[in-house]
């Protein structure tokens, strides 16, 4: 089948690309646009390493077709910092050593950002259940949860 032409907004920038109907948004981000920050850990929506925010909703990019992004806004890890100013979540992850190998980190950061935009004062339980779709095998989640709670507190104060 011929490719579809799609226009979308990615991290605030207008983007156009061609994709085959069966290509996922994750395939497009990584292999067409070379935005490799979103990772493929499973391809079936079970690990959250491909988390992006699509029209304001946290989703797995591996479960969205590239063509479905037509006219949508997509936020990925690459858009989280503003120039050289890191988002508080990014800073807190570094300060709290909330990453070891780092492959799950983009997914967690995007998911946590979506959480704090919706719920600026989550409890530990709320953080854990919101992030249950993001798998980490290195950290045991402890420092990740602390970093998210810490960032939430800092964002509230500012």
């Amino acid at each position: 089948m011929p490719k579809h032409h799609v226009t979308a907004t990615i991290n605030g920038d207008p983007v156009e690309f061609l994709c085959a109907p069966e290509q996922t948004l994750l395939d497009v981000l990584r292999d067409v646009l070379y935005l490799t920050g979103s990772k493929e850990g499973c391809g079936s929506g079970d690990c959250g390493a491909c988390s992006v925010i699509l029209d304001g909703r946290l989703v797995c990019a591996c479960l969205v077709l590239g063509v479905e992004a037509q006219g949508c806004s997509v936020e990925t890890i690459e858009g989280m910092a503003r120039g050289d100013v890191l988002h508080p979540l990014q800073r807190k992850f570094l300060e709290q050593a909330a990453l070891q190998c780092g492959v799950c980190t983009p997914g967690f950061l995007v998911a946590a950002k979506a959480l704090l935009e919706r719920n600026p004062q989550p409890t530990e339980t709320e953080v854990r259940y919101w992030l249950a779709g993001n798998l980490c095998r290195c950290t045991g989640y402890d420092k990740i949860v602390r970093a998210v709670l810490d960032a939430a507190a800092e964002i509230r104060e500012s």
Binding site: I77, Q96, T139, G140
Partner: protein
């Protein structure tokens, strides 16, 4: 230079070591800039895909690739004919041994397919869609054979035979018939029969554990590019770029120096990325196609065709006096190796009773092949399985003797000078300190409610040293580049930079660590065995001392004094006490600026075989609640206490403890490989292979104990593996106290727990 002893380790004041700076590679990781195995794209690149056996056990009668080769867009097709057949030869890969004859067959099947998912052929094509189409056109004729999955069944006389040339090693006389038992090992001390005779209480139990996977979130991935003259570049996610180079060179019949391997950032390994799967295939395809070939495993391929760890049957018998002194201990371990020999049964045997000071010990182990993927290392390979069994029986003994489980362990704890069952006498070790810290921790005294129980378990892992190189290059402005050769799987490059900065006496941000490719350094053994902070750290410190010697020589030249009159303090060359009058100290920048005139570029090097890695001991405490109506086990509270020797970056030591504990929780409660009757894996995905999710676990509290390792300049011990050793027993012990039921099978999933609870209730009702 090997043994570097430091006097007064306990008194040294560190400036950088022991602090918690930001890791130098951190910003790239939180912005998505860091490049992992699948993140590389190069022009003209092809996509490679593997055809895998659908059968657990089958003879391969023929493979016809002609239609695949003819498909437009296909640039290369390979089978085992495109790789070297190698003779049997064992070499170390991390803490396990690998055999080249087996490796060439595991990477691509020759005579037989030995597990579902075993690679049979591979293609490289212009797109993933064409590559998948090409796989479907490859015609493989199989003769399906009966298969065996269970270790006990594989040991029976009439079990289906995987290898007809497998005669058990370690048995006298040599067996007349081949079998599925590759090896028998034995470790013994004293006289266990006499020891049991002295015991007042003897407990004997049999345990069953299931194969589990390391569960790294990043699938295997690589990109190979072979030029027309046979030189090659390989980018891959690996725990050891030098190991990959060596294996691939052998499998492809290349000289090692012609293959440059670059380690990408690695998205988790835990031992599972210490061997090769896709890499030789990508190289062979690229060699045929004369184009770069990228290969990435799907999640299902990772589960089916990489290297989980063994499932096992373990029998343990321990006897003790009524006063709580263990008089004898025995164990028999039967570990599945998967399709080729090489389970971690030997380290499992060695560790089983290692935390204890015993006069009479006997451990026997069997390495057994079955029709499952060949096992690879998984964090303290072999140890978690045997120590789960032993720590469970220790707990039962403590209960039977009415002794507190920590007290019982203290009465029998190994200390400095204890002779281990597997041979050596221990140097200083921290088991007693971790037990005492557990006993005095508030967790141990916190009240428990109905259906709740508290469990304790200790754990031991040896840790290794090994061949390591490091280089420090002094920039013209005094900044330093550190080139290390061990991939960073958990934040180690931060610790290495910290040790370089500490030794040089400069600020951390003046050191930039990079992980070099195989052309940048001499041979480095892989990242594994908890060896990087210890071995690469030792190499970095030695390289720093080498550089300091040269810096002092240059200062001596500038000042025209003997080199003995120059000392290095706080990052500067200074005149030694009294000598030279008012000479201003020279910084790295000062010396670097004139390096060309004083003798040339300044570099510090080390090429060592690090010895003296000290074991790391731990004690874990866990509280669980068991729902008696559904069998669901909830982990309420967890405390991990471990001896780190010297914590270079405490946050990353804590991280290792927390990560290992949670892997252990998964192993204890929900993780297992599930096969159907035809030997096919039913749960090759994260949906039904259930690793802990964020809401499954509480905060993991940590306590770092420091009993310095005198064989390392800063007292460092490896810490990465020990954390996964205690959790399964700790949880089984907690569940036993919550329910009164001793679980000897892992995982303790809700259906198994509920069945046991209901059976106990029924038995009580009858009584």
């Amino acid at each position: 230079m090997n043994d570097v002893t430091m006097k007064g380790l306990g008194e040294r004041q560190f400036n950088v070591v022991g602090t918690r700076p930001l890791r130098p590679d951190g910003v790239d990781k939180v912005t998505g800039r860091a490049k992992f195995g699948a993140d590389l794209h190069v022009p003209n690149m092809l996509i490679g895909k593997v055809l895998r056996s659908p059968h657990a056990h089958a003879r391969i009668l023929s493979i016809d690739t002609s239609k695949a080769q003819a498909l437009p867009g296909v640039k290369a097709v390979i089978t085992s004919a495109d790789l070297c057949d190698l003779p049997s030869e064992f070499i170390p890969a991390g803490e396990m041994m690998v055999n080249f004859r087996d490796m060439t067959r595991n990477v691509m099947a020759r005579e037989k397919a030995l597990y579902e998912g075993h690679a049979v052929a591979a293609v490289a094509a212009v797109s993933e869609a064409v590559a998948r189409e090409a796989l479907e056109l490859i015609d493989v004729q199989y003769q399906v054979l009966p298969h065996v999955l269970d270790v006990a069944q594989a040991m029976e006389p009439n079990a289906p035979l995987l290898h007809d040339n497998m005669y058990t090693i370690g048995v006298e006389p040599r067996p007349a018939q081949p079998s599925n038992v590759a090896k028998r090992v034995e470790f013994a001390l004293g006289d266990t029969a006499a020891g049991f005779a002295q015991a007042d209480v003897v407990i004997e139990r049999e345990f069953i554990t299931k194969p589990v996977h390391q569960g790294y979130i990043e699938p295997h991935a690589c990109l190979a590019s072979v030029s027309e003259d046979g030189q090659a570049d390989l980018w891959c996610t690996t725990q050891g770029q030098f190991i990959v180079r060596g294996f691939c060179a052998k499998l492809l019949g290349m000289e090692v120096a012609k293959l440059r391997v670059t380690a990408s950032e690695i998205g988790g390994g835990f031992g599972g990325k210490t061997v090769v799967y896709l890499e030789p295939l990508a190289l062979a395809l690229s060699r045929k196609a004369c184009q770069p070939v990228k290969m990435v495993m799907s999640r299902a391929e990772v589960f089916r065709a990489s290297g989980p760890t063994s499932g096992a049957r373990v029998w343990v018998k321990i006897g003790a006096t009524s006063k709580g002194r263990i008089t004898a201990a025995e164990a028999v371990l039967k570990y599945q190796a998967g399709a080729f020999q090489g389970s971690p049964v030997q380290p499992g045997c060695m560790c089983a009773f290692a935390p204890y000071d015993l006069d009479n010990v006997r451990v026997v182990g069997f390495d057994v092949v079955v029709n499952r993927p060949k096992v690879a290392a998984y964090r303290a390979p072999g140890g978690p399985i045997s120590e789960f069994a032993v720590e469970s029986v220790i707990d039962e003994l403590a209960k039977r003797l009415s002794l507190d489980p920590i007290e019982f362990r203290l009465k029998n704890a190994a200390k400095e000078g204890t002779k281990a069952a597997y041979g050596p006498k221990f140097g200083p070790i921290g088991l007693v300190q971790t037990l005492e810290a557990a006993r005095s921790h508030p967790h141990y005294r916190a009240p428990l409610e109905a259906n709740q129980g508290r469990g304790v378990a200790s754990g031991f892992w040896f840790n290794i040293g090994g061949e390591t190189c490091a280089t420090l290059n002094l920039g013209e402005d005094g900044s330093v580049t550190l080139v290390a050769g061990t991939p960073d799987i958990g934040g180690s490059r931060a610790s290495l930079a910290m040790m370089a900065a500490e030794e040089l006496g400069i600020a951390l941000d003046k050191v930039r660590p990079v992980i070099g490719d195989t052309s940048a350094l001499g041979f480095n053994f892989l990242t594994g065995g908890s060896r990087v902070t210890f071995s690469s750290g030792m190499a970095v410190i030695e390289a720093a001392r080498d550089m300091i010697r040269r810096l002092c020589e240059r200062a001596a030249k500038v000042w025209e004094v003997p080199v003995e009159d120059v000392v290095w303090e706080y990052g500067h060359a200074c005149p030694a006490n009294g000598a030279g009058g008012e000479r201003k100290p020279l910084s790295l920048a000062d010396i670097a600026r004139t390096a060309g005139k004083t003798g040339g570029p300044i570099v510090g090097n080390a090429a060592i075989n690090a010895q003296g890695a000290g074991p790391s001991l731990a004690t874990h405490v866990v509280d669980v609640e068991v729902d008696p109506e559904t069998g669901k086990v909830t982990v309420l509270r967890y405390t991990a206490i471990q001896d780190a020797g010297k914590a270079v970056h405490p946050s990353y030591v804590e991280g290792q403890m927390q990560g290992g504990a949670v892997q252990g929780i998964g192993w204890a409660l929900n993780e297992e490989y599930i096969y159907d009757a035809s030997g096919r894996l039913e749960n090759p995905g994260f949906l039904d292979y259930r690793i802990p999710v964020c809401s499954d676990v509480p905060m993991i509290d940590t306590v770092i104990v420091e009993v310095p390792n005198p064989r390392h300049p800063y007292g460092v011990r490896g810490v990465g593996e020990t954390p996964i050793v205690p959790p399964m027993a700790a949880i089984a012990n907690a569940v036993a106290r919550a329910t009164g039921i001793r679980f000897t099978q892992l995982p303790m999933s809700p259906p198994r727990v509920l069945e046991a609870i209901d059976a106990k209730r029924a038995a009580l009702a009858k009584a």
